[in-house]
């Protein structure tokens, strides 16, 4: 999955940036006080008494929600690379916004950044339409070149006489501590706009993301929604620049949404989870930055988001790695049990169901395993209520439930062999291995279809009897030579 590679790239980027830029990022720490213990600082955080902390926390939470929501659309529309390019393309706009008044005027910066973003998007389209280049090369070009221009402009600004020193580092890696009421209001406005647009146009956004061709055919303006989303994205990026920084804002866009994508099959839930994870990552980033003394907020938020992603990857209930491993292990155990049941049936059959007990030795011979292994297997069967062990420990007996499952497995195996020889015209000596696998997964519907197809035959290609439904329920089996039922635990 392309977005997984992209996410991994972002995570590596985050850690590298953090390690390399620690001295520079020192400037981005939230709290100046250096003399209190970690616990004290943690308590101070939750008392919310620090005004700069309140703005930083509010801003981080809003940014998390906003980026999470926009990111969900990027992930499902496969536009993560676009988000990355856009977030880097705005840097020259920020610099020009700076230069407008030589102050940190949020409005000028906002306008400049959005203009740069639109210019970047327009350049991408131009390259795609007039040259052979595809979208990824065009995005790569715009990302790198605009970013380079932005860096040059920023360096120029820093070297101006009276030029603000508070330029480059803060917009590169984010300084949540420096957020004032205006920045938070801007973020609040953008978040409100995003939430409003999503609530109002939910189904239109969903259908244009899922099947734009069909949406167009119904007369819906697919392009309008695409450009609208891109514009909202630009707003979200620019409003978040202050807190997370240019380098990592794309990570806050993609990672919470990527984690949400792993956990649900419903788009609405995905949006909610993405917003929630974004909110959480923002808050945790702010908290960790406040508690640790010289830690930058941007990378911390991203690392929090990354942790959530890794947890979702490992422990997601449906697609998580742990869940899948668990399902696989249970399945192998079940197959093993069923093979043992089948072996018991076959041993019983070999003696024409004269007794209902099999010795462990006979089982070991049939399965070609050691006595210890068989005893281990029978103990497992006992735990599942499928068999009982005799008091001497050297013979096993099937319970009714075990009998039923054994009959079903043997029936599945022989039915399948018959089907392959008759319908698929396979040679009788080729069908065994296939049946060994299929017997465990044949569902009831398929079994009934097979029985009908094979006209309820009673014998498999090797001449053995196929247990039928009456045998299972009555706890008896047809013997090898006659059709008369004999055997296990039953009334004759």
């Amino acid at each position: 999955m392309g977005s997984c590679v992209g996410t991994a790239r972002r995570v590596t980027g985050a850690v590298t940036v953090w390690l390399l830029m620690a001295p520079v990022a020192y400037a981005a720490r939230i709290s100046e006080i250096s003399d209190t213990s970690t616990l004290d600082r943690a308590l101070r955080f939750f008392s919310f008494s620090d005004p700069s902390l309140r703005y930083a926390l509010a801003g981080s939470i809003l940014l998390g929600i906003c980026c999470g929501l926009m990111g969900a659309f990027l992930v499902v529309r496969k536009l993560a690379l676009m988000g990355d390019a856009l977030s880097h393309a705005v840097l020259p706009g920020v610099a020009l916004g700076f230069l407008w008044n030589l102050t940190r005027d949020p409005l000028a910066i906002f306008v400049g950044a959005v203009a740069a973003g639109l210019l970047g998007a327009g350049t991408v389209q131009l390259i795609r339409q007039t040259t052979r280049h595809k979208e990824d090369a065009a995005l790569g070009f715009v990302l790198a070149s605009f970013y380079a221009v932005g860096i040059c402009l920023f360096t120029m600004i820093q070297n101006l006489p009276g030029g603000n020193r508070s330029g480059l580092d803060k917009f590169m890696f984010g300084q949540a501590a420096a957020m004032g009421p205006q920045d938070v209001m801007l973020l609040a406005a953008v978040t409100l706009l995003a939430v409003g647009a999503i609530v109002l146009f939910y189904k239109e956004l969903k259908i244009t993301s899922f099947d734009p061709g069909f949406a167009r055919s119904t007369g819906l303006g697919v392009q309008f929604f695409h450009y609208g989303l891109m514009l909202l994205l630009a707003f979200a990026i620019v409003a978040s620049l202050q807190a997370v920084g240019v380098v990592l804002v794309s990570a806050m866009l993609v990672i919470p949404a990527a984690a949400a994508y792993l956990l649900t099959d419903r788009f609405g839930i995905m949006l909610l989870l993405a917003a929630l994870f974004g909110l959480g990552s923002g808050a945790i980033g702010a908290f960790l930055s406040f508690v640790g003394r010289s830690l930058p907020t941007g990378p911390l938020m991203v690392l929090a988001a990354t942790t959530v992603f890794v947890l979702a990857l490992l422990f997601g209930p449906r697609h998580g790695i742990v869940a899948r491993w668990w399902r696989q292990t249970s399945r192998s155990a079940r197959v093993r049990r069923e093979n043992t049941l089948k072996a018991i049936y076959q041993v019983l059959e070999a003696s024409a169901f004269a007794t209902d007990q099999v010795t462990v030795k006979d089982l070991a011979d049939r399965r070609r395993e050691t006595i210890e292994e068989i005893e281990h297997q029978v103990a497992k069967l006992k735990r599942h209520g499928l068999a009982t062990l005799s008091s001497t420990g050297d013979a096993a007996c099937l319970t009714p439930a075990g009998w039923q499952r054994a009959c079903e497995i043997v029936r599945n195996h022989r039915l399948w062999e018959l089907y392959l020889t008759n319908a698929a015209r396979m040679a009788p000596d080729h069908v065994h291995d296939d049946a060994e696998e299929i017997e465990h997964i044949l569902g009831e519907a398929n079994v009934q279809a097979l029985e009908r197809r094979l006209n309820y035959s009673r014998k498999d290609p090797h001449g053995k009897m196929i247990p039928g439904i009456e045998d299972i329920h009555a706890g008896r089996a047809a013997s090898r030579d006659t059709d008369r039922a004999t055997g296990f635990g039953g009334n004759s």
Binding site: K78, F201, K206, F214, S217, T218, D265
Partner: protein
């Protein structure tokens, strides 16, 4: 019915030419379709069959010519057209389930900014029932077989309650039972007076399924009742080969402009 009242053609195409990177894909297509017919569109690979459907709906801009749906441009009557796209046009990993996909067919009726109502859900359920997919209503769409996915697309188009249906290869990669089920539904729609245009990939079944056939190979080779046009001569012309001279000249013309 009033004698002076002309039956409006569900679809009228005039001199439609579509190019792709200056190469002609459709050249001078003229069509007029009468209502209540099940029409197959057949031709070799690359003949422009999908392109024709997309150009009719305005998804692809033609270089020349026009299309009228029930006498007006597509945009004005788009609500009267139902569309079943090709299966690979969609991302099947999208987090959405079968019921939600079929409900999308109702969005045109629901209108902008509003939520689907209970009545819309009932219609969606009925359509799912018709294609025998109601038990799968809550399943994520990636968890379905090819035939099941195709049936969900069909249910979505049925939920649109249209008069003209355009279908792009609905039988590709579909099991025999599903194919029979789909053709039964199409015939039922036809009996209710709907018009259906179906891009089809298989010659043998085309003869059996459709009342009329459009034979396409960049240009319109033939259009008429199946028994009239399904002849060796016409098939030879359709499948015999591309008109390379026409193709190259038109491309050169486009590049010179």
């Amino acid at each position: 019915m009033n004698e002076s009242e002309r039956v409006i053609a569900p679809l009228e195409v005039h001199d439609l030419t579509v190019t792709y990177h200056k190469r002609p894909v459709l050249y001078g297509i003229d069509l007029e379709v009468t209502p209540g017919k099940l029409i197959g569109i057949i031709g070799p690979n690359g003949a422009g069959k999908s392109t024709l459907i997309k150009a009719i709906m305005g998804l692809i801009k033609p270089v020349s010519g026009w299309v009228k749906i029930f006498g007006t441009p597509y945009a004005e009557n788009s609500h009267r057209v139902g569309y079943v796209p090709q299966r690979e046009s969609v991302d099947w990993d999208f987090p959405v389930n079968v019921m939600e996909v079929v409900l999308m067919g109702r969005y045109g009726k629901v209108g902008l900014c509003r939520r689907p109502s209970k009545a819309d859900r009932d219609v969606a359920s009925e359509c799912l029932e018709k294609v025998k997919m109601l038990p799968y209503a809550n399943r994520q769409i990636g968890n379905l077989s090819g035939g099941q996915q195709q049936r969900v697309f069909l249910a979505r188009a049925l939920a649109q309650e249209s008069d003209l249906y355009l279908m792009d290869e609905p039988f590709v990669g579909v099991d025999a039972a599903t194919e029979t089920a789909i053709i039964d539904i199409l015939r039922e729609l036809k009996s209710r007076g709907k018009t259906l245009l179906v891009v089809h990939h298989d010659l043998a079944s085309a003869k059996e399924y459709f009342d009329e056939l459009i034979l396409l190979n960049m240009r319109l080779v033939a259009f008429g009742a199946t028994r009239d046009v399904f002849t060796p001569e016409v098939l030879q012309t359709t499948y015999g080969g591309r008109l390379t001279i026409l193709s190259e000249v038109v491309q050169a013309l486009g590049e010179s402009k």
